[in-house]
């Protein structure tokens, strides 16, 4: 990989990453350290044009003078259906959210299906209907797609890929390098619902809880916040695989600053808390499909929060932390009585433990 130039604004040289793993493991898809290494060490240097840019949820294109956001995502979910949603909804909402947290109004989506031979038609139809409903709720059009069928035993019944385009909201320019010490970290609502719902839905762990996936479009919330706080809106992300911990670690590395979180401010629903305690998991590492994080300048933070709380679906929004100079590149969480620890990205998927 070519050597990276120091960043003009911060003077920091991004770390050189090399992908040396001899084969692909599950960890590489889990959204944590291994995933990032694959992307930064293999895909980015060989495939992406702007290897020096921090990797965001969407890319910004300039086509014939118009600025357009484009993003793509793939959905590999087992089981296909779970309390609160299904793979089809995840596909639409996931892409809509990637556009939203890039500061773009989602416009259109194209979708591809990889279907396993033997998949019952009514299962497929149910997913397609779910996608249509989710698209309508999110205000996007599905304008095309492609289908392939693979042999029985591959594709876990159905894989879906979506590519979405949108137009940037005026006045919104999100970039991790614009983050400054003193900025506030805003979270839209309780964390861990989706990941724990999926874990429980798989049935291996024999746990029951009253939980549903939080899958939804966060665009209305982003739009509301942008309406009052656009000039102070520095960065946004939807904390999917790898959870809040991974998203904030990525931010910390991209901006070279320290993110300080207060443990008692982070909202976690009972069922998520119980499952995490029993299994020895940390809610900060669990995937979310209907939440987003935003970093907002201190002058705009309270306004942003109030606007969120007054928007439907945003009533549980909360400020969970602040940006500081140190510890540079890391995320630190503090308890109510002053004890603190570093929160890292996961290596791979969160695993239950007994010790």
């Amino acid at each position: 990989m070519a050597s990276l130039k120091p960043d003009a604004a911060t003077g920091r040289v991004p770390p050189k990453v090399r992908f040396r793993d001899p084969q692909i493991e599950m960890a590489h898809g889990a959204g944590g350290i291994a995933s990032r290494r694959l992307i930064e060490g293999l895909f980015a240097p060989l495939l992406f044009d702007s290897a020096n840019e921090p990797l965001g949820d969407s890319a910004a294109l300039e086509i014939a003078g118009a600025r357009v956001a484009i993003t793509t995502d793939c959905f590999v979910v087992k089981p296909l259906g779970f309390p609160g949603g299904s793979i089809g909804e995840l596909a639409i909402n996931g892409t809509v959210n990637d556009l939203a947290v890039s500061g773009a109004r989602p416009h259109s989506i194209v979708v591809t299906f990889i279907l396993e031979a033997g998949l019952p038609t009514d299962v497929l139809e149910a997913e397609v209907r779910a996608m249509a409903e989710a698209a309508q709720r999110a205000g996007v059009s599905v304008v095309g797609g492609d289908t392939k069928v693979v042999e029985h035993g591959m594709a876990d019944r159905m894989y879906i890929t979506t590519t979405g385009v949108g137009s940037f909201l005026s006045g919104v320019h999100v970039n991790p390098r614009s983050v400054r010490s003193g900025d506030r970290v805003v979270l839209s609502g309780p964390i861990g619902d989706h990941g724990i719902t999926i874990l429980l839905a798989r049935g291996d762990l024999d746990l029951e809880a009253d939980l549903r996936s939080d899958t939804r479009s966060v665009f209305p919330l982003v739009e509301a916040m942008a309406r009052v706080a656009a000039p102070g809106l520095r960065w946004m992300r939807d904390p999917t695989r790898g959870g809040v911990a991974t998203s904030l670690n990525e931010l910390a590395r991209d901006c070279g600053l320290g993110i300080h979180l207060s443990e008692d401010r982070i909202p976690v629903r009972d069922g998520v808390r119980g499952a995490c305690e029993l299994l020895g998991l940390d809610p900060l590492h669990i995937a979310n499909e209907g939440q987003f994080l935003a970093v907002v300048a201190p002058d705009y933070a309270d306004m942003a929060l109030n606007e969120l709380r007054q928007t439907i679906g945003g009533n549980e929004a909360v400020i969970i932390g602040e940006v500081h100079e140190q510890p540079a590149g890391s995320v630190l969480i503090t308890t109510e009585y002053g004890g603190s620890r570093i929160i890292d990205m996961l290596v791979g998927d969160p695993l239950p433990r007994i010790c």
């Binding site: 024999d206 746990l207 029951e208 809880a209 009253d210 939980l211 629903r269 009972d270 069922g271 808390r273 119980g274 499952a275 305690e277 029993l278 020895g280 433990r353 007994i354 010790c355």
Partner: protein, 97 residues
């Protein structure tokens, strides 16, 4: 080895002598009570759960006693400081670290 969590027995499983449904902060799981067979808990009891087995009954009284002991920690010292404030004692105290 060590991850064991307090949970409340919400239902003794019908048709079994040793299974119960236990609830931990909104999550429910079937738990084997076989290790507590000498003194089986009943619905409403709190037990310590480890790898799907109940290891011990949790004594609410002992928990309350512990909290009480901890809350009065330092109260003796506070009382001492007040007394010292009046200059009534001649105790030579090392300065706190």
């Amino acid at each position: 080895m060590c991850l064991a969590i307090p949970g409340k027995i919400v239902e003794l499983f019908p048709g079994s002598q040793h299974l119960a449904t236990v609830e931990v902060a909104g999550v429910r799981r079937k738990v084997d009570l076989g290790l507590l067979q000498d003194d089986l808990p009943i619905s409403g009891d709190w037990v310590l759960i480890h790898v799907g087995f109940a290891m011990s009954k949790i004594s609410e009284q002992d928990a309350l006693d512990q909290m009480q002991t901890l809350r009065i920690l330092g109260e003796d010292e506070q009382a001492m400081q007040e007394v010292r404030g009046y200059g009534l004692d001649g105790i030579d105290e090392r300065k706190p670290a």
